[in-house]
């Protein structure tokens, strides 16, 4: 704890200390007179290695290093939501007040406001026995999120004294427990948790409930469950960030944790702008009331970028433990992997594939395994869904980060350059993407949308696959030589692609489409397909069907039929029937 421990060497964000025994692995330390935050990442009897989360310019050998005796942790309590933090949970809004528009080093601002008073309702009384993870008080955190104060994991005992309901600050002790050894444990409005450890839960539940996103290609074709994991790989310009934003805006999680990990600063300011203006349709409140942002942009220190993923995950788990469904968007995990590589290179570790350290797969699996739908310690149900963007180098999906992510996620939404070039958004390629959740989720779809939904989906998938096979031929000899029934497959697949899979994020109705409408859209397309097939079988040429302009109507039904009027699909189908009947009459 004394300044006996001093800097020996400096190389970029890596600082070394000689001949010391005062630190433990992953301990958080303060470096230099400016007290830059760092973490111990390597120890041997001669040299201890520290990674520093801030610019190291100006540090000198002989500058002090102070230990904290605890691993890198975050402060958990009310005030997290509607806030924006950097990768190590420093509040960027408060830092702006302190140091202006540019982030200065060594800012020591408490992550959560110590002064703000919270309207606390105490849920226990003297004599109650509390276990880890149980709720002892609540307060409204934002207009739609109730913050539930949980007994920290590892703490339990009998309630010795309780404060009355009222306004309290973050550090006020509300409840005092007496643990089994007879020692008093005060419970305040906050707790700390090391970011690299998963928070405990009672047990994990199967992935049987879908996360509804309102994006047709995801909900219908490649659904993800609550508590599931999904990866969005795509080269630059394919719309990873757009897809993440759409999911953050519309998915039916209670809370969104958005981690901007090594991405663009302007994107974060866009998220801030947009989310504060955007009204959540379910609650009628601004989106920021249920969003936590972690912004470690690409020019902020690389070590903090590595930590930002864990910080976000820990915040997500904390709210999961209160019984919320949380979705965490990590944009992008490749930047995080590159941060690992960068630090590993500074440590002169032996590189494995493409210069990434050999522990890349184990770190990725550790990360994705923290997702899940669980029974929390307080007996509620909560979930953490992880949706990670991957930015493959050179748009090559065979690179290590994409490949390893594929192994540990169950949903793979492959973004495609040629779709993006044609401005087909979301540019999720239906041939390369997959979801392993069908078997888990189908009972839910069957129950809530009927057997039809699954049948339609399978039919649509088949048509798209048939089209893909036919396109091989068309590429070689042109579409004119195909028989009419195969031409019909191609036309129908086009209607599916343009009318169904493609979705306009900027259109008021099309940006979020309820499942019921998704089903009816498929129904309309398949209805036309089935009907047209019987007509073609009766030797009426397809060109006559095309002239009716029905496929164009299908392509525009997403705009023509508002989400609130599903009954208009009956009219559409009746219209199509009438038009087609003129051919057979």
């Amino acid at each position: 704890m004394t300044a006996n421990d001093v800097i020996f060497g400096i190389n970029g964000p890596v600082v070394t200390v000689k001949n010391t025994r005062s630190f433990s692995m992953m301990e958080m330390v303060y470096v230099g007179a400016a007290r830059l935050v760092g973490e111990i990442i390597g120890i041997n009897d001669k040299l201890t290695t520290v990674q520093v989360y801030e610019e190291t310019t100006g540090l000198k050998p002989g500058d002090p290093i102070y230990g904290t005796g605890a691993p890198m942790n975050v402060l958990l309590g009310p005030g997290i939501i509607d806030n924006i933090f950097d990768g190590i949970e420093r509040p960027l809004k408060a830092i702006e007040k302190e140091s202006g528009c540019f982030i200065s080093r060594g800012s020591a601002v408490s992550p959560l406001s110590l002064e703000k008073e919270w309207d606390v309702t105490v849920k226990v009384k003297t004599g109650d026995v509390l276990d880890s993870g149980m709720i002892y008080a609540t307060c409204p955190e934002t207009a739609i999120i109730e913050h539930r104060f949980l007994v920290p994991p590892g703490v339990s005992g009998r309630v010795k004294s309780v404060k009355p309901n009222g306004k309290y600050k973050l550090m006020d002790a509300i409840v005092v427990l007496e643990d089994e050894r007879g020692e008093e444990v005060p419970l305040t409005l906050c707790q700390k948790w090391p970011i690299r450890n998963a928070r405990p839960c009672r047990n994990r539940l199967p992935a049987t409930v879908p996360l509804i996103t309102g994006q047709r290609v995801i909900d219908t074709m490649f659904p993800v469950s609550k508590g599931g994991t999904a990866a969005i790989p795509g080269g630059f310009g394919t719309g990873k960030t757009m897809t993440q934003h759409q999911l953050a805006k519309w998915c039916d999680a209670d809370i969104i944790v958005y981690v901007g990990c090594g991405e663009r600063g302007n994107e974060m300011s866009q998220v801030l702008d947009e989310f504060s203006e955007l009204i959540d349709p379910k609650s009628g409140r601004p989106m920021t009331d249920r969003t936590v942002l972690i912004a470690n942009t690409s020019n902020m220190p690389v070590a903090a970028r590595e930590a930002s993923i864990y910080t976000g995950l820990t915040l997500a788990e904390y709210y999961r433990d209160m019984g919320y469904h949380v979705a965490i968007m990590a944009d992008s995990t490749s930047r995080w992997a590159e941060a690992l590589r960068e630090i590993s290179g500074r440590l002169e570790e032996m590189p494995a594939e493409e210069g990434f350290p050999a522990y890349l797969p184990s770190r990725l699996s550790e990360f994705y395994e923290r997702a899940g739908r669980v029974d929390t310690l307080c007996g509620a149900e909560g979930s953490v869904t992880i949706i990670g963007a991957v930015s493959p180098q050179g748009s090559d999906f065979s690179e290590p980060v994409t490949q390893n992510t594929k192994r540990f996620t169950r949903c793979f939404w492959a973004l495609d350059k040629s779709l993006a070039y044609a401005r087909h958004y979301p540019a999720i390629n239906w041939m390369n993407s997959y979801s392993e959740y069908f078997t888990d989720l189908d009972p839910w779809f069957r129950e809530n949308l009927g057997e039809d939904f699954i049948r339609y989906r399978n039919r649509v998938t088949t048509i798209l696959h048939e089209e893909s096979a036919l396109m091989e031929i068309v590429k070689l000899i042109g579409s004119d030589v195909l028989p009419d029934d195969q031409k019909l497959v191609i036309e129908t697949a086009k209607a599916i692609r343009v009318g169904f899979l493609q979705q306009n994020a900027f259109h008021a109705d099309d940006t979020f489409v309820p499942l019921e409408k998704q089903k009816l859209m498929m129904k309309a397309i398949l209805h036309l397909y089935a009907k047209a097939r019987t007509i073609i079988a009766a030797a009426i040429p397809i060109s006559q069907i095309m002239e009716l302009g029905l496929f164009e109507r299908l392509a525009k039904m997403k705009y023509d039929i508002p989400n609130s009027k599903p009954e208009m699909f009956d009219e559409l189908i009746a219209d199509m029937d009438r038009a087609l009947d003129t051919l057979t009459a």
């Binding site: 020996f8 060497g9 400096i10 190389n11 970029g12 070394t16 610019e55 190291t56 310019t57 100006g58 540090l59 000198k60 050998p61 002989g62 924006i84 960027l92 809004k93 830092i95 702006e96 202006g100 528009c101 540019f102 982030i103 200065s104 080093r105 630059f236 310009g237 960030t241 090594g262 663009r264 600063g265 302007n266 994107e267 974060m268 300011s269 866009q270 801030l272 702008d273 912004a295 942009t297 690409s298 590159e338 941060a339 960068e342 290179g345 493409e354 210069g355 050179g394 748009s395 090559d396 070039y421 044609a422 068309v474 590429k475 070689l476 042109g478 004119d480 302009g549 164009e552 525009k556």
Partner: protein
């Protein structure tokens, strides 16, 4: 007490190692005096106890183990700034080389800069009219954006950059903020630097340009500092002098190669194609210095130019750049070969910020749908072309033939444009609709009927493209070619 350290322990490439150095701080500047009285400058890049590694900007030629005296300067690399830097020319390391003497500093700034707080950023929305149809319509440049030009050796990226500067300046004259240009040349040929200087002169902006020149034969270590110095100057002009600053950095590939050279001489573990593992973070630290902040009316807009080695867009430099910047303008050798200028390859080009800076109130309500439709239709042209290359154009279906025709017209009249031709946004958008009208109306599935009713031209005979003549200006552009 100021100490001079006599001699060095080791020399390796551009690095020297000093032993028994007290009180050195990381990234501190040093002066190295050679016995012949000349000075070199350097920066501390690594410290291990009292062993210090120094990067020498001017190179280590003629340094021996004991002909130097090294003095620590006790401050990191700083740039002298004042409004007077406008119109001046500096070396890559920020020293004046125009013979007009030192800058009298109003402020000294660390060239590394500090990261902008994401909370303090203002989301860029003001579009910059460049007068170039492809850029304005399909990949709109926004004030505060970083939009690189991906080019290849021998293509007309420099002309394009100059045209953007010239025409963007004209669009800006109505505003009350001043307009400035920071030009950073990294490892470019003397001719290229001279071409830029001449072009700035001709368009009458030379007095508003700050130049940082590191030419192809200048030391590579200075090259690493060049963009940092340029951006420090740009940030100062933008955020303290409230100017709109356009930063042109060319060529980022040379910069990255300099970084690679430096990294390998330091003995670091190489990543992809020998580039250091931190290339992404390093490039990001430069590109992310574009933007606007709450406290100031100014802005920094970046147009980095990079040549893709072997025209390979998956090369680490363009690849990582694309992941950091907000879009890219990609030039295409085939278009260039067909004689079209600017040879903007429309499909892979993109502006990420455009969606919020266009439309009603900025450009025109039909801008976004029109752009989507043009992209979609032009993508379809590529399909038709690849089919035609197999089965011959004659065998194509009538619709595909229409697309072939559309593709030709699109390249000839929309992409192609004179070097001095400045089209208004209305002209560009109307031209787009006119081109789309050569396709059957049913093919236009990205726009809704209301817009089609308004803009789609049913009367095919009125589609006469010759009114958009591009010949008028092409004559004199050849004079400016490098």
């Amino acid at each position: 007490m100021i100490l001079d350290y006599v001699g060095v322990k080791e020399i390796n490439g551009s690095l020297i190692v000093l032993d028994h150095v007290d009180n050195a701080s990381f990234e501190e500047m040093v002066d190295i005096r050679l016995d012949d009285g000349t000075y070199r400058h350097g920066r501390i890049v690594q410290i291990d106890g009292d062993r210090v590694v120094v990067q020498v900007f001017e190179g280590t030629r003629s340094i021996s183990l004991d002909n130097t005296r090294t003095r620590l300067k006790a401050h990191p690399m700083e740039l002298a700034l004042s409004p007077e830097i406008m119109g001046r020319v500096f070396s890559g390391a920020g020293r004046p080389i125009d013979g007009l003497g030192e800058v009298y500093p109003e402020k000294m700034a660390n060239v590394n800069g500090t990261p902008m707080n994401p909370v303090s950023r203002v989301y860029p929305r003001n579009y910059i009219n460049t007068g170039i149809s492809t850029i304005d319509t399909l990949m709109t440049l926004i004030r505060g954006q970083k939009l690189p030009i991906f080019s290849g050796s021998g293509m007309k990226h420099n002309e394009l950059a100059v045209q953007i500067v010239r025409q963007a300046k004209i669009a800006d004259e109505g505003g009350d903020n001043k307009f400035g240009i920071v030009f950073a040349a990294m490892g470019v040929k003397n001719d290229v630097a001279d071409y830029f200087r001449r072009s700035f002169d001709q368009s009458g902006v030379l007095s508003r340009v700050v130049m940082f020149l590191n030419l192809a034969n200048d030391p590579i270590i200075e090259r690493i500092l060049t963009p940092k110095c340029a951006l420090t100057a740009a940030e100062y002009l933008a955020f303290e002098c409230n100017m709109h600053v356009l930063v042109i950095m060319t060529d980022m590939t040379s910069y990255a190669e300099a970084l690679r050279e430096f990294s390998s001489s330091k003995g670091e573990i190489p990543g992809r194609k020998g580039f250091p593992g931190y290339l992404y973070s390093d490039l990001a630290a430069l590109y992310e210095r574009a933007g606007m902040i709450k406290d100031s009316k100014g802005s920094v807009t970046q147009i980095p130019i990079l040549t893709m080695p072997n025209d390979d867009i998956t090369h680490p430099v363009p690849d990582l750049t694309g992941y950091i910047t907000e879009g890219q303008i990609v030039l295409d050798r085939q278009l260039e070969g067909s004689g079209y200028y600017p040879p903007v390859s429309v499909l892979p080009s993109l502006s990420r910020l455009m969606k919020d800076g266009i439309g009603e109130g900025y450009t025109r309500a039909d801008h976004q749908p029109l752009a989507n439709q043009l992209f979609a239709s032009y993508a379809r042209v590529q399909d038709a072309r690849s089919l035609a290359s197999v089965i011959g154009e004659e065998e194509l279906s009538p619709v595909d033939k229409k697309y072939m025709e559309f593709g030709k017209l699109f390249e000839q009249y929309f992409v192609n444009q004179g070097y001095h031709e400045n089209r208004t946004i209305e002209q560009s958008l109307d031209l787009g609709w006119k081109l789309l009208s050569t396709l059957p109306r049913a093919e236009l599935d990205r726009v809704d009927d209301a817009l089609l009713d308004k803009y789609y031209i049913e009367d095919k005979d009125s589609l006469n493209f010759n009114t958009f003549s591009t010949d008028a200006d092409t004559g004199d552009s050849s004079d400016d070619d490098v």
